[in-house]
């Protein structure tokens, strides 16, 4: 993993004005992964979009961690089903 693909959690939290403990809780529930380098926690850049979504759920919509966890699973399911619909539509084209 190259350093330029990581963002320090402290910096991220300061920029978004959120508590570091929120990120730790997300990691505990397995919703995000934290990379530790010399005791400093980092977030991989490709997780940022997902993380910002969780921040909106928690701070703007007042959804607690259990709710975020449930929603995350359901959104993954919605995503898979949408992909499946596209695949089935393409398959249907084969027979039209």
């Amino acid at each position: 993993m190259q350093a330029e693909y990581l963002i320090a959690i402290d910096e991220f939290c300061a920029k978004h004005d959120i508590e570091v403990s929120f990120i730790s809780s997300l990691e505990e529930t397995g919703l995000i992964e934290i990379t530790k380098i010399e005791e400093t926690g980092f977030i991989q850049v490709d997780q940022i979009q997902q993380l910002e979504k969780f921040i909106r759920f928690y701070y703007e919509l007042d959804i607690n961690l259990e709710g975020i966890e449930t929603i995350s699973h359901l959104l993954n399911r919605v995503h898979d089903l949408q992909e499946e619909i596209i695949e089935l539509r393409n398959k249907l084209d084969l027979y039209e």
Binding site: L61, L75, R89, N90, D93
Partner: protein, 292 residues
């Protein structure tokens, strides 16, 4: 420009307390927030309305102005002017000008509140933009560049070979600008890949029908087949039956973002029976039939 009943949108009455407004907004936002309704344009439109209603009703000054002038909002400035004149005071109207215009807000909101967001300096992420790109199957076969015009800005993107019909790709940071220092939104591009007249695609595999004349089907031979990658010579085995399938490994569609990897091309043979036979030819077929 129609009057918008923000109370009705949030499902509350005019006596609602700030807490009631907050609760009603949160409840509806949880239902219609775009993060919770991926690729749902109706939910997005609903959320914009809810957001706008909350923007007005959660701000005491905006709510006051909205309550005071409501349906007569178009004349709000005239009323204010008259009031100021009668009071003969030199005070300026507190107003709602300034700040950036929010394209997510209705014309009604923009006219009444000047497009400004006042009060809380909450950081808002910019709006996500969506667009569509239509490609022919042959275009999706090769990696190529295309220039898109999104909200007046030209963006040159590389479309990797193997893109699927219905596939959505995200171009980070090319959506609307953030508000109050918030991050920019993303651009989501949905690809529509048109069907080819003779070649069908399923995932990375291609399927086509190739006609064989009766004599090649019976005696075998060599044919040339058109593929998306050019012409391919194929040996046809003697006594090839109608509907025989031949799999050409690696002659299918490129695998998305896996350069050099391709699916297969499956050819189904259709034997063409000769027509307009001469008497002599009919006789030969009869002899052939008798010999069996």
């Amino acid at each position: 420009m129609a009057f918008i009943d923000y109370y009705k949108i949030l499902g509350i009455d005019k006596t609602a307390t700030p807490k009631d407004v907050k609760n009603a907004y949160r409840k509806l936002a949880r239902k219609y927030h775009p993060d919770l309704n991926p690729n749902n344009q109706d939910a997005k439109a609903n959320f914009q309305q809810i957001n706008e209603a909350n923007e007005v009703l959660s701000d005491p000054e905006k709510r006051k102005k909205y309550d005071q002038y409501g349906k007569d909002w178009e004349h709000a400035d005239d009323f204010e002017r008259q009031k100021q004149q009668s009071q003969s005071s030199g005070q300026r109207e507190s107003g709602f000008s300034g700040g950036s215009s929010q394209s997510d807000f209705s014309d009604f909101f923009e006219s009444m509140f000047g497009g400004a967001r006042s009060g809380r300096q909450t950081k808002y992420r910019g709006e996500d933009y969506t667009t569509e790109i239509h490609l022919e199957l042959i275009d999706a076969y090769k990696t190529h560049k295309q220039t898109l015009s999104v909200n007046g800005n030209n963006i040159r993107i590389t479309i990797p070979a193997g893109v699927e019909n219905g596939q959505i790709i995200k171009i980070a940071g090319h959506g609307g600008p953030g508000v109050n220092g918030g991050p920019g939104g993303d651009l989501y591009i949905t690809f529509t890949v048109a069907n080819h007249p003779t070649i069908k695609r399923l995932g990375n595999n291609l399927y086509c029908h190739v006609e064989l004349d009766l004599y090649t089907a019976v005696l075998g031979g060599e044919i040339t087949v058109d593929t998306l990658d050019g012409k391919v010579k194929l040996k046809v085995k003697p006594e090839t039956q109608q509907g025989t399938k031949v799999n050409l490994k690696g002659k299918g569609f490129p695998v998305y973002k896996n350069e050099g990897q391709f699916g297969d091309l499956q050819i189904t043979y259709t034997v063409r029976i000769p027509t307009n036979l001469t008497e002599k030819q009919k006789q030969l077929f009869e002899e052939l039939a008798k010999s069996r």
